[in-house]
Symmetry: C2
């Protein structure tokens, strides 16, 4: 069993009730750091979806809405699943991740059936794909600081491999592109086929788009809805994220996930809070961020 | 009080419990027609949001996820609201529209505060706006067949005015553009300022995007999530919708709503089922889009 499958496992206690345990190995900040260890939202969502899909009459989570309410502890938690509808085409459940009686993550999941990525039948139309660079031309984000313990063993960045389009990594050198866009490839470091659970992580797998505007720092997801559009083919997942609007401390981030067969397999939009770290560049509408030459604080 | 406000009214019975009544005046198909009278989903959502906002510590529904499970009857219904979190920046409630003990519409709503459309403070960035034609160059959809009773009094299309970019109305003459795109202006026929409740209707206010691929017929929304991004300025709302992927009977539809001050005030994505009506045109993958001279969606 892979670390991902261990870290997102659920254990059935009764109908609609499961035990789970947010796992340090997918924490964004390791224990002992200044901030609490926030387990990657995709890993939490994968655990919830595992419980839902185990009970679902349909195989795929076609629409998953998730509101992130609290940061979980690295301690026992429960998943509660309540079915609202069992239809022939779609079934809908509410599912929540609960800890100490409080909802950490509240979701509604509609399940159904999507086709294999390479199948085509009936009305079939896809917009033009983003321009992804060749994977060998991408920049490996590596095991970035703040998510890997001193012994190198733990943390989200030790589990996933993110290879970025160099056009979207200027923020690493304090030279943000001025555009809220990220493009790259997402995979587990372990060998594991892509499926719905991994797609739930991939849609939030790249650095926050606002890094491209110079706004670094933790950008907590408030709400994320994602749609599974096809069963992914084997191979790496190409992910593009963009934002359309940043203001009042809120930003949207839209992700598209394309599989190795060149098909759109997942889409998402999230609403998140702009991180409270320093902003390099003004982020004024349009151009100013790209003019910034301010050096990045060490360690970001 | 406007018809919209009457039709989306809720009456408090107890904390978190309200009475409401899906209203024939916002039904998409009038009673007596071959199919049940489906009240516009935006009108149902507005009633649910009215109940939530009346209890919310924050003024705006920044993130609303809605799963549409069943078609309501034109009969008494209830809204049940359960708060999951009251935070300083955001509060989250589950809210459901219930009829005969069954969930019609299940939502999770996170409330917060967004800025006035014309205010600017902190990091503020917006992508390029869609190219909307002047409102006087648009085509009034009028009171289209199937939503207005014989006496002309009732139905959704009698309450809203939709003025469409003529580039996106070829489907009316059996000549779909070949692109899943709609652009137009949305307003109530009555004089009423735009607010969160009206934005909830505007994000699903245009004809289904797949009409542009020739797939007409009722296209039921399965899930719709929308984000309020700013308080709209007075005046008409400009709406653009696009799809990125249609397959397996499912399609996505993304909406952007821009106010008269030229600011992005709401965004949504919905997953819907392709209507079962006849398909005019092939909708074949890629070809239609690449041959079209219509502009591609901004920022995508």
């Amino acid at each position: 069993m892979t670390i991902f499958d261990e870290a997102t496992a659920v254990s059935r206690r009764a109908d609609g009730r499961y035990d789970t345990h947010p796992d340090q190995r997918f924490a964004l900040v390791v224990p002992g750091a200044a901030t609490p260890p926030a387990v990657n939202g995709g890993a939490l969502l994968a655990a919830v979806l595992r419980a839902v899909l185990g009970e679902s009459p349909h195989p795929h989570p076609v629409a998953t809405s998730a509101h992130f309410l609290r940061v979980p502890q690295l301690a026992p938690a429960q998943v509660e699943v309540t079915w609202l509808k069992h239809g022939g085409t779609a079934a809908t459940a509410r599912a929540a991740l609960i800890q100490d009686g409080k909802v950490i993550l509240d979701t509604t999941v509609t399940t159904g059936t999507v086709k294999e990525s390479t199948a085509a039948e009936g009305l079939d139309w896809t917009g033009p794909p983003p321009g992804f660079p060749a994977i060998e031309d991408c920049v490996d984000l590596g095991r970035w600081p703040g998510t890997v313990a001193a012994d190198g063993a733990a943390g989200y960045a030790a589990q996933v491999g993110v290879l970025m389009d160099p056009a979207t990594t200027g923020w690493r050198q304090g030279e943000p592109s001025g555009l809220p866009e990220m493009r790259g490839y997402f995979r587990l470091r372990e060998d594991r086929a892509a499926d719905a659970l991994l797609l739930a992580m991939a849609v939030d797998g790249l650095p926050p788009v606002v890094f491209g505007l110079g706004a670094t720092g933790w950008a907590p997801t408030v709400e994320l809805t994602w749609h599974m559009r096809a069963v992914p083919a084997p191979g790496p997942l190409a992910v593009q994220t963009v934002s359309r609007h940043v203001s009042g401390g809120w930003f949207d981030e839209e992700a598209e996930v394309w599989d190795s067969a060149g098909r759109l397999v997942a889409q998402s939009r999230q609403l998140a809070r702009v991180g409270r770290g320093p902003v390099n560049g003004t982020g004024a509408n349009g151009a100013a961020a790209s003019l910034s030459t301010a050096p990045s604080p060490a360690g970001r």
